[in-house]
Point group: C2
Chain length 213, copies 2
DNA sequence: ACCTGAACACCGTTCAAGT
DNA sequence: ACCTGAACACCGTTCAAGT
């Protein structure tokens, strides 16, 4: 029985993705560099190029893993409306924590993996709701783009930046901005609530449409 | 009459912002570096630091100028619904062309400038519509976040990336993804139309609520 | 008062060399 | 087959020096 080479196969796609997710979670820093990733792995910064074509491919692999958790972590019950709502809120939760990795998905669709369960589910629920067949794609797109777009935008915000806007609006000349100055103090107090408000608007309107049909 | 120093005051905040917007418009490149900006201005790359604290402040100044154009470029007519719709579509148009500069606004609200007209207008229209006073802020937030978030997300997409997702979804195993494979060919054919669909859902629901009140 | 230019501390990525 | 390490071509930003 020959001695195992202790250096052989220390790295793998899985180990690299693990380390990457550990780093983004540990630091609220904006970005994880390959040099930091190499440090975390105890390996030369360029070693990961033996397993991934470029940095984007690492983000993509990480995102696929995260997306698979969306449907795993949520058990759906109730009518199509509640299920659709819970699914999109679960999607938001994942995007809130890892906006950067998940945004990488947009530009390079991953090959053949496991993160598509939530999309299948969403479309199935829209059909179940009775949305007209030719409206299903566009309705899905609207819900998806709202959820992802608004969430990635919200993920960038900080309490300071939100308070900064409130204060700026409050200080504006009241004669030229009567509505804005009056509303300023109530803005951006709960961005999650605002997201849910908008989602419910969309679901309300869909419900009304399928009832009328 | 003393000779003017030909070098004096070649640079100004305005000239720098002009050059910056010229560059982002000319190139579909991802980012404009300060070295390229210096080249465009015929000046050392670090000269702009005499007029702006950092790169973000340049983006912010550019964004403020763009926002002012939102209300300038659009003449509003009709009821609150049409006006609100036109205003948000005009906001989308500006964000589609300059997503990066406008995103800089989110984190550092500009001092005392002229880009807030559209916000004042939106809130005024929601009041005019008859939205309950305590719902106005959250309704505004939902509409704003949808418009900006979805648009910044859409601005990143390319015809190739959209086609890539269509094809990926189409190739998935039909037994595990019956709805997704069936819908795949109809997805992402017109993302502007999808945005308008979602916006109309929201406006429909608001209309229904204020009628019921 | 404003611009220059060297320098600093970073990036992602390539590629010949090691083992 | 996989990792190393020097190198390349970039970044944003600082700061002493020029005029």
């Amino acid at each position: 029985m020959p001695a195992q080479n202790p250096v052989a196969s220390r790295l793998s796609r899985e180990v690299i993705v693990d380390a990457y997710l550990r780093l983004v979670e540990a630091e609220d820093n904006d970005s994880v560099s390959l040099r930091r990733l190499g440090g975390e792995l105890g390996v030369d910064p360029t070693a990961v190029y033996r397993h991934f074509r470029d940095k984007d491919e690492i983000l993509t692999a990480a995102a696929d893993r995260l997306l698979a958790e969306v449907t795993d972590g949520v058990e759906l019950s109730g009518g199509w409306r509640d299920q659709l709502r819970d699914l999109l809120l679960a999607l938001r939760r994942v995007y809130l924590v890892h906006p950067r990795a998940l945004l990488a998905l947009q530009l390079s669709p991953p090959r053949l993996e496991n993160g598509f369960g939530n999309v299948e589910r969403c479309i199935a629920l829209l059909r179940e709701a009775g949305v007209a067949e030719d409206e299903v794609p566009i309705a899905y797109e609207a819900l998806e783009t709202y959820t992802i777009g608004a969430t990635v935008f919200d993920a960038r915000a900080t309490q300071e930046s939100l308070a900064g806007w409130r204060q700026l609006y409050r200080m504006l000349p009241a004669d030229r901005f009567p509505n804005l100055t009056a509303t300023a103090a109530s803005l951006y107090l709960d961005i999650d609530k605002a997201f849910r408000y908008g989602l419910d608007l969309m679901l309300d309107a869909i419900e009304t449409r399928v009832r009328g049909a």
